[in-house]
């Protein structure tokens, strides 16, 4: 069996073994924790036990995960698996961008944060033209106006809005 990262049916082979090993290991760990993390109640029917459905879930994960691992017919991690894992890890950068955005919004406010975040991420992605940066600014303004001002979704006002003049403060807290 070659280590070719692409299978004939178009499914990526690289990383499959790594994922299956990780998934099965976590499932087995959860099975081991089943007794500690769930309760078996006396005088309660088997199917109504609080432990029953978590057991169905974790035992199913472990059994099917292990069977899936067996069908892969692999027993070692290849360099293609590691290369694939590095790509998985690279996605964490954008998850962190997202979390920083989440962390800053309650402090700086939804509108200012979005107006900074969108062009900054656009810049990071390699778009240097003024056109793209302006489009990102207009897009962020559109999103804030649509969701916060018009649809009134629940996003709290920023802490720095407290320093705005009285009339402007309530306007910003409610709409931006």
């Amino acid at each position: 069996m070659s280590d070719d990262p692409q299978e004939s049916n178009g499914h990526r082979r690289a990383g499959q073994f790594l994922f299956a090993v990780g998934f099965t290991a976590i499932a087995i760990l959860l099975v081991a924790l089943l007794g500690d993390q769930t309760v078996w109640k006396a005088k309660v029917k088997f199917f109504a036990q609080p432990r029953f459905w978590p057991a169905v879930g974790v035992i199913g994960m472990a059994v099917f995960g292990a069977l899936h691992l067996k069908t892969l017919h692999r027993n070692r991690i290849s360099r293609y698996d590691l290369r694939e894992a590095r790509i998985w890890f690279e996605s964490v950068e954008y998850a962190l961008w997202f979390l920083v955005y989440v962390w800053v919004v309650p402090i700086v406010g939804y509108l200012p944060t979005t107006l900074i975040f969108a062009p900054l991420l656009t810049w990071r992605l390699g778009y240097r033209s003024r056109k793209m940066l302006w489009i990102s600014v207009v897009f962020s303004l559109f999103v804030v106006v649509l969701f916060k001002s018009m649809l009134q979704v629940k996003i709290p006002g920023g802490l720095i809005y407290e320093y705005l003049p009285a009339g402007l403060r309530s306007l910003f807290i409610l709409n931006f």
């Binding site: 978590p54 995960g65 954008y94 998850a95």
Partner: protein, 539 residues
């Protein structure tokens, strides 16, 4: 007639009309952008619809669901890239038509087929609604449990070649749903003594992570592609004339769409596959299929557009979603305390029919929009991938954060986003996780309720519908096992027929070389050399 009038009364509101317009136009645009798709859009918009009336919120979501496939056919035909996953089959015959200069014909045929499929399914279901209203009350706890179990089994077995991992991921979904305080005995389950886990893992957080954020990560890491578009000139009405020449293919495909849509866990892909196979087998020119056959295009587009209306049947009649999009819609019902199930058909039949009429109007609106605005709409396929990823990331924030203003939810969603990214990279299925979460919850509640009245195991299936469902589960599992056994036998036969001495010899050489090169091999040789006689050669 009274029922239809009262249903129209529900829809005769400015906000419902606006929702219809936004849903239909928004759905087409979202469908036309490759890499977004209805699941991402519905996941993002879901929390925003919680503040709306159920009919308004559901109309927007249904609009996106029902019209995205119209839009998805545009890039499938013009640039060989399906706008939504279900338009993949459209590329087989749509793109070859474009390459031979028939793009307008292909697009107009796709529109007319989609329109026919959509209208056909809605009319079928409006006519079928009174029958459903009679059958639905026959579903008690055990029947709903068995139907949910059948749904989950069908979802798993539908992933051919990936059944085991689909089952493992469905179990992962079932486990995720159990995290938190158990609702009857109030005991903690897998909370690891963390207070933020006591309320459980929210379905919408998981959906947003697995569908929206993961797609954003995929797009952010991809390369932008240069798209060259074909200019479309002239009217798009010719498709209706061509469709009228193939009534049999269109009728059978729409029927497949309706039937497959109603079966939980089956959906568009099976309907399309069956319709396409039928059209090819019954065609006078089967060799044209895959090379720009109008019948192939009709079969694919009619079948996929007949599914959305039909997929609402198990959701509305039994409260069982058959796929990820209807699972998301279920949460809108729960937020508004409208519990889908037999009671809905008995007590709020006008609401159900109103939803179907909304779908009917929606199809007309979409068609009118597309006939007028296709030339402008096709420009959306030029949006660069990575920029689109940034847009989805910004929009995902609205979806997750507006739920409970919780940074923990956002961190969880980001975690599920990375998981979804990994699954998408590996082409592993995501839908079983969502359906495991939703159907797992339903099965837990219904099994507990059903077992309270069951004395012997046979009592569980002694009612006619329960027995039918049990037999269906048995049949599906048996057929699946037979298929697995046949595949295994075929694989073994192929192995035996292709393995010959030279292959084994090459393998032996490969192992021998590895053994010679590894440290262990050197150690073994060194050890053996101590027992061998020293060379007496004097060189």
């Amino acid at each position: 007639m009274d029922l239809i009038l009262s249903s129209l009364d529900i829809l005769a509101r400015w906000d419902v009309v606006l929702a219809l317009l936004v849903g239909s136009v928004g759905g087409v645009v979202i469908g036309a952008i490759p890499g977004v798709g209805p699941a991402v859009a519905i996941a993002i918009l879901l929390p925003a619809t919680f503040s709306m009336d159920p009919i308004v919120g559901l109309t927007v979501l249904l609009g996106i669901y029902g019209s995205s496939m119209y839009g998805g056919s545009i890039p499938a035909i013009l640039i060989n890239t399906p706008g939504t996953a279900v338009n993949a089959l459209t590329t087989y015959d749509g793109y070859p038509m474009t390459t031979r200069g028939e793009a307008r014909r292909a697009i107009s045929l796709a529109y007319s087929s989609s329109f026919f499929g959509g209208i056909f399914s809605v009319i079928c279901l409006i006519l079928f609604a009174p029958v459903l209203a009679k059958i639905a009350p026959m579903f008690g706890s055990r029947e709903i449990f068995l139907a949910a179990l059948l749904g989950i089994i069908l979802v798993i077995t539908a992933h051919r070649g990936q059944t085991l991992i689909a089952a493992a991921l469905a179990c992962f979904g079932i486990w995720l749903n159990t995290i938190g305080l158990e609702p009857v005995k109030y005991t903690k389950r897998f909370t690891f003594d963390q207070s933020w886990l006591s309320s459980g893992v929210n379905l919408i957080v998981v959906v947003l992570g697995l569908f929206a954020l993961s797609q954003a990560f995929i797009l952010l890491q991809s390369e932008d592609e240069k798209v060259r578009l074909t200019k479309l000139r002239g009217s798009f009405f010719q498709g209706f004339r061509e469709l009228a020449r193939h009534p049999r293919v269109a009728g059978v495909s729409a029927t497949f769409g309706v039937v497959m849509g109603m079966v939980p866990g089956v959906g568009e892909f099976t309907a399309q596959f069956m319709s396409y196979s039928y059209a090819q087998k019954s065609s006078k020119r089967p060799e044209d299929f895959g090379h720009g056959s109008s019948e192939g295009l009709i079969a694919a587009e009619t079948a996929n557009n007949a599914v959305p209306a039909a997929a609402m049947v198990p959701l509305l009649a039994l409260g069982i979603p058959g796929e990820a999009l209807t699972a998301m819609m279920l949460s809108v019902f729960y937020v508004h305390n409208v519990i889908p199930g037999p009671g809905l058909f008995q007590n709020q039949m006008d609401f159900v029919v109103a939803l179907y009429i909304a779908l009917l109007i929606l199809n007309v609106l979409v068609l009118v929009f597309l006939l007028m605005a296709t030339n402008q709409l096709i420009k959306v396929v030029k949006i660069p991938n990575r920029f689109l990823g940034m847009c989805i990331l910004v929009l995902s924030f609205v979806g997750v954060y507006s739920l409970r203003n919780s940074a923990t939810d956002c961190a969880l969603a980001a975690g599920f986003g990375v998981l979804g990214f990994v699954l998408k990279r590996l082409s592993l299925p995501i839908v079983p996780i969502i359906l495991g979460m939703v159907l797992g919850g339903i099965m837990e509640v219904k099994l507990r309720a059903a077992m309270a009245r069951v004395k012997t195991p046979y009592d569980f299936i002694d009612r006619p519908i329960a027995m039918i469902l049990f037999l269906m589960i048995f049949l599906v599992l048996t057929l699946h096992m037979l298929r697995v056994w046949k595949n295994h036998k075929r694989k073994k036969t192929n192995q035996w027929s292709t393995s010959h001495a030279s292959t084994s010899f090459a393998n032996n050489l490969y192992r021998r070389r590895n053994s010679l090169l590894t440290a262990r091999g050197k150690r073994v040789r060194a050890k053996r050399s101590t027992f061998s006689r020293q060379s007496t050669d004097k060189n």
